[in-house]
Every structure is written in structure tokens, then in C-alpha cells.
Amino acid sequence: MEALVAVMIAVLVGTGVYLVLRARTFPVILGITLLSYGVNLFVFISGRLAVNQPAIVGNGPASDPLPQALVLTAIVIGFAMTAFLVVLALRGQGETGTDHVDGKRDDGGEG
């Protein structure tokens, strides 16, 4: 199981890194999203893996609750950031007339 989770994290982070390095806003948004999936999982597993042990008092052995709380926070913050980025991409489109991350127009002009 650990190896599988590690591979998942690796793939998520890897694809995220690849996509944030693209030149258009849309893939960058995708990349940031994938990257945060991977990173959230990474923080999550810093409490080690446990199966069928939710952190509820009185249910026997429990998984590490702290990373879960951290990841919950991180997910919400990540959502806020992604939303902002998406709208910023729109704004970029509106002001520069292109979806290039540098605001470069495809006709060569500056937006």
C-alpha cells in the first residue's frame, strides 16, 4: 500500500510540475490543482498510513488526526487559491486579450 501511495504522490506532483511549466493559463491551473492534490497527500501520509481507523474517540485505534486537520486546512486554502487563479486567468484574458501566462499576444503584440 505504501508503495502505491508513494507512486500516486509522485505522479501527481510530477504531472503538476510539468503542467505549471506550460505557457497558457489553463494548463497552469490544472498543474496547480494536481500539485496540490499530490502535496496534500504528502502532508497526509506524514502521519503514516492506517486503514479503517478513523480518528474518532472510542472507536479503538485511531489514525493520526493532526495531518488530517492540516490537510483539511490546506484543501480549503488550496481551493481559495485555485479559484483566485482561475479568475485571474479570466482577468488576464480580459485585459491582455490572450491566455498566455506572460500576456503575449499570439499576433506578436503586447497585450
Partner: protein, 493 residues
């Protein structure tokens, strides 16, 4: 007043919330609320500094949970100094923005307050994950502020700033995962203790975690090769925002100082990344000086001066002696206030030149040329580090305490390049001007805000001794992490 320590976070937070309730966009009321908040911060910050200067480290246990389990705020001399500095910068920056810039987009005042909340939170928190949260608070607010106003240039710079920092946030989380996954704690003091009990693979992972933190903080601080976003973002931001941002890079510097001082000054990972920070700092210093020389706009000149100061500071930090750290803090105060003032001044000049703005090409004389010229001269002398102003004192202090030939060469050589760049800029803007803008007046409150910040240059020089003594005292406390750790963990380590 035991709760005073949280006031620098809560005052702007509540002000921001109240500003959201004010839905009719009644600008005077918003300005009043915003100014009231920053002015209320002044006595608070002073009182906190006074308190910290006594030498006791105050620990505030949020939710009444003991460290390392709950989150703590920690007021030591360093955090008190940073909060005070932030407040000193915020008042004039907001005053300046209140003259019209705040109307150029929605929600300016709320964003400004939340920005302050984030910065102060980052300075006060004693918990690494909470530091992440406050980083996010200050970042998301800064995204809004960077983009405040219109125009493609601002949006272009904004996209770069946002995306890079989003990547940075992801990296911070990886670092935090490593921190927790190896030491099982998030409290800074506890981390400092536990990291020294690690060995084997866990120690190696913690090392990478620490280095990733340096990368993240280096991005905030704008160290080479992570400063490229800064000149465009700062030069295109609204003046009040750019002025406030003069402290944003220092949040990065502070974070390195805090974590390094606690966890990596000594012990298993002693000197973690010091050499790398040193090299990056020197490269930043010289490349930013070249940037100053080659800049095409006054805003860019000042922005590169900010980057240059980061190199100067980070080298002083990487030298990592209490003496160099004390000198570095003096320089930090100086550069934050003076470059904030210069951002405002650049805007005043741009306003007086019509369409040309702050571009470094000959054009009409800016309105109020003589007065602005004097201010520019003072600001330039200070920021370059020429006598008799604060920059000179800071540089001498750093040169005395960081006796490394390469640093001397780069600091002095960089100063020369900056001198050439600044004198070209000033000569183009004020001397090569056609016509005289004497009839048009400079807006008084804007001028007052600029003066407030630039006044730091002579004042910090005249009272260099008390200020230096204070920063040296801060450094002495910083150099004894056990004081901090004992205060947080109650001595029961």
C-alpha cells in the same frame, strides 16, 4: 495586558471584517475605519516592543492549549521589532493610498487590513503550520492588492506573482510534511528540540525539509534566482501597496532568521544551507545592483534596490553571528522604511509627469520639482548607503561585522553601481527636464506620507546609537534560542 500580543493580528482582522459589512462603498467611512485600525496599531506595537525589550519572552497559548500541542504566539524582541516596523510602514502607506488610489478597484481597504493581519501573524506565530496559514493570508491579500487597479501590465505581473507563490505554497506544504513526518511536531521550539534528536534517514529528510523552507522563504524574500517576479510586480503595483510591500520581502528574511536561529544555528543540522544562502545573497546583491543600473523606470530602480537590500540582509544573516545579525536588523529597518518612501516618491514623480509616468526618459519637469528633487536626493543617498544617512550607518555596521572580502567587494561595488544608476535616474528626471512644473502643487497628504517614511533616513542616522543598541539586543536574544525554547515549552524539555 496579556491579550495585547494578539492585537496586531485581531485589530486589522476585525477592521477588515467590518469593512466587508460596509456594502455601500462609502469611501470616507472605509478610509476612516482603515486609518483608525492602523493608528490603533501604533500604540499597540509600541507597547509590545516596550514589553519585549524588557527581555522576557511572552508566550500566548491560543485556545489555552499547552505548547507544543496548541498554537502559540510568541513575542520576543525580534517579533516585536518586526511588528513595530510593519506598523510604522503601514500608516504612511495607507495614508498615501487614501488620497484616491483606494478607489481604483473594489475592496482595497479590507484587503489592506487582511494583509497587515497576515504579516503580523507571520511575525508573531510560534508554529510552523500556522506560519504557513499566515503566509497564505498575507499572500492572498497581496494578490488582491498587487492587482488593485487596472491595466495589462499589472495583470501580467500579477499572474507571475500569483503562480510562483502558489508553487511556493505547495513547496512549503512538502516541507511541513517532512517536518511533521520526521519530528512529529509543528511547534517551532519543539521542532528545534526534536530535530536534534533525529538520526539516520529521518535526519536526512528533515534536512531536505529545512532546505525546502529556505527555497520558499527565499522566494518570499526575493533571493537570486527567485527574485525575477519582484521588479514588475512592485513597479506596477499602486504606490501605497508597493510601499507596504517593502516589508513583504522582509517576511521571508524574518522567517529564515527565525527558523534558522531556533533550529539550525546549532545541533544536528547546524549551519543548514548557510553557504547556499550566502552565495545566493551575494549573487542577489550584485545582480540587483546591475538591475538598478539597467532599469528603465524609477519604480523598477526602487524595486531593484529592494532586491539589493535583500541580498545585503541575507548575507548578514548567513554570516550568522549575533553581531552581524544586529547590524543586519538595523539595515533592515532602514531599507524597509526608506524604500517604502521611495516607492511613494516614484509615484509622486510619475504623477507630476503626465503620460511619461516614471519612465527614465527626459520629459516635462515633475510638478514641485525642487521639493521632490530634494526628497529624491535624500532618499537616494540613504538607499545607496552614502553618508550621512541611515544607509551609511547600516552599511558600516554590516561591513564591520561581516568581514568577508567578497561581501565587502560586492556591497561596496554594488553601492557604486547603484550610485551610477540612481544619479542617472535623478539627473534624467529632475535635471534633464523641460519646463518647470512649479505652478502645479504636489498633493499635501501624499507628500506628508512620503516625508514620514523618508524622515527615517536622517532620524535613524541621528539616533543610530540607540537603534543599533536595540537591534544588537534583539540579536543577542536571537542568538540564544534556548531562551525562546524554554519560554515556549516551559523549560520542561
Amino acid at each position: 495586558m496579556e491579550h495585547l500580543i494578539i492585537a496586531p493580528i485581531l485589530i486589522p482582522a476585525f477592521a477588515g471584517m467590518l469593512l466587508l459589512l460596509e456594502v455601500r462603498e462609502h469611501q470616507p467611512l472605509r478610509r476612516f475605519t482603515g486609518m483608525l485600525s492602523v493608528l490603533a496599531l501604533v500604540p499597540v506595537a509600541l507597547a509590545l516592543y516596550q514589553q519585549a525589550a524588557g527581555g522576557e519572552i511572552q508566550v500566548y497559548r491560543l485556545g489555552d492549549w499547552a505548547a507544543p500541542f496548541g498554537i502559540v504566539l510568541v513575542l520576543d524582541k525580534l517579533s516585536a521589532l518586526m511588528v513595530l516596523l510593519c506598523t510604522a510602514l503601514a500608516v504612511p502607506a495607507l495614508l498615501y493610498a487614501c488620497r484616491a488610489d483606494d478607489k481604483r478597484g473594489a475592496n482595497f481597504h479590507a484587503l489592506f487590513q487582511f494583509q497587515l493581519m497576515g504579516i503580523n501573524g507571520a511575525f508573531l506565530t510560534g508554529d510552523l503550520f500556522n506560519l504557513f496559514v499566515f503566509f497564505e493570508v498575507l499572500l492572498i491579500a497581496s494578490y488582491g492588492l498587487v492587482l488593485h487597479g487596472r491595466g495589462p501590465a499589472r495583470v501580467r505581473a500579477g499572474i507571475h506573482y500569483v503562480v510562483l507563490n502558489l508553487i511556493g505554497s505547495a513547496l512549503f506544504l512538502v516541507a511541513l510534511g517532512l517536518v511533521y513526518g520526521t519530528t512529529g511536531t509543528l511547534n517551532m521550539a519543539d521542532f528545534a528540540v526534536k530535530v536534534n534528536q533525529l538520526d539516520g534517514g529521518a535526519l536526512e529528510l528533515a534536512r531536505i525539509g529545512g532546505l525546502l523552507m529556505w527555497v520558499v522563504f527565499g522566494l518570499k524574500a526575493a533571493l537570486f534566482p527567485l527574485y525575477f517576479w519582484l521588479p514588475a510586480a512592485y513597479a506596477n503595483a499602486t504606490a501605497g501597496v508597493a510601499a507596504l510591500f517593502a516589508i513583504m520581502t522582509k517576511v521571508g528574511v524574518y522567517s529564515v532568521a527565525r527558523v534558522y536561529g531556533l533550529a539550525f544555528a546549532d545541533g544536528a543540522l547546524a549551519g543548514l544551507g548557510r553557504d547556499a544562502l550566502w552565495v545566493m545573497a551575494l549573487l542577489t546583491l550584485v545582480l540587483a545592483a546591475i538591475g538598478v543600473l539597467g532599469a528603465r523606470r524609477l519604480g523598477e530602480v526602487v524595486a531593484y534596490m529592494v532586491v539589493m537590500s535583500v541580498g545585503t540582509l541575507m548575507a548578514g544573516l548567513a554570516w550568522a553571528t549575533p553581531e552581524s545579525f544586529g547590524a543586519m536588523l538595523y539595515y533592515l529597518i532602514h531599507t524597509t522604511l526608506v524604500s517604502g518612501g521611495l516607492f511613494l516618491l516614484a509615484d509622486l514623480v510619475a504623477r507630476g509627469r503626465g503620460k511619461l509616468g516614471d519612465q527614465l526618459v527626459a520629459g516635462p519637469a515633475p510638478a514641485g520639482r525642487a521639493g521632490l528633487g530634494v526628497l529624491f536626493f535624500i532618499g537616494a543617498v540613504a538607499v545607496i548607503g552614502l553618508p550621512p544617512l541611515s544607509g551609511f550607518m547600516g552599511k558600516v555596521a554590516l561591513l564591520q561585522t561581516v568581514p568577508a572580502p567578497l561581501y565587502w567587494l560586492f556591497l561596496l561595488g554594488g553601492g557604486l553601481l547603484a550610485l551610477v544608476g540612481m544619479s542617472r535616474a535623478g539627473s534624467t528626471l529632475f535635471w534633464r527636464a523641460t519646463g518647470d512644473g512649479a505652478e502645479r502643487r504636489v498633493d499635501r497628504p501624499r507628500l506628508a506620507a512620503t516625508l514620514l517614511l523618508l524622515a527615517a533616513a536622517p532620524l535613524l542616522a541621528i539616533w543610530a546609537e540607540p537603534v543599533l543598541r536595540a537591534t544588537v539586543a534583539v540579536a543577542a536574544q536571537w542568538a540564544q534560542p534556548e531562551l525562546y525554547i524554554d519560554a515556549v515549552l516551559g523549560g520542561g524539555v
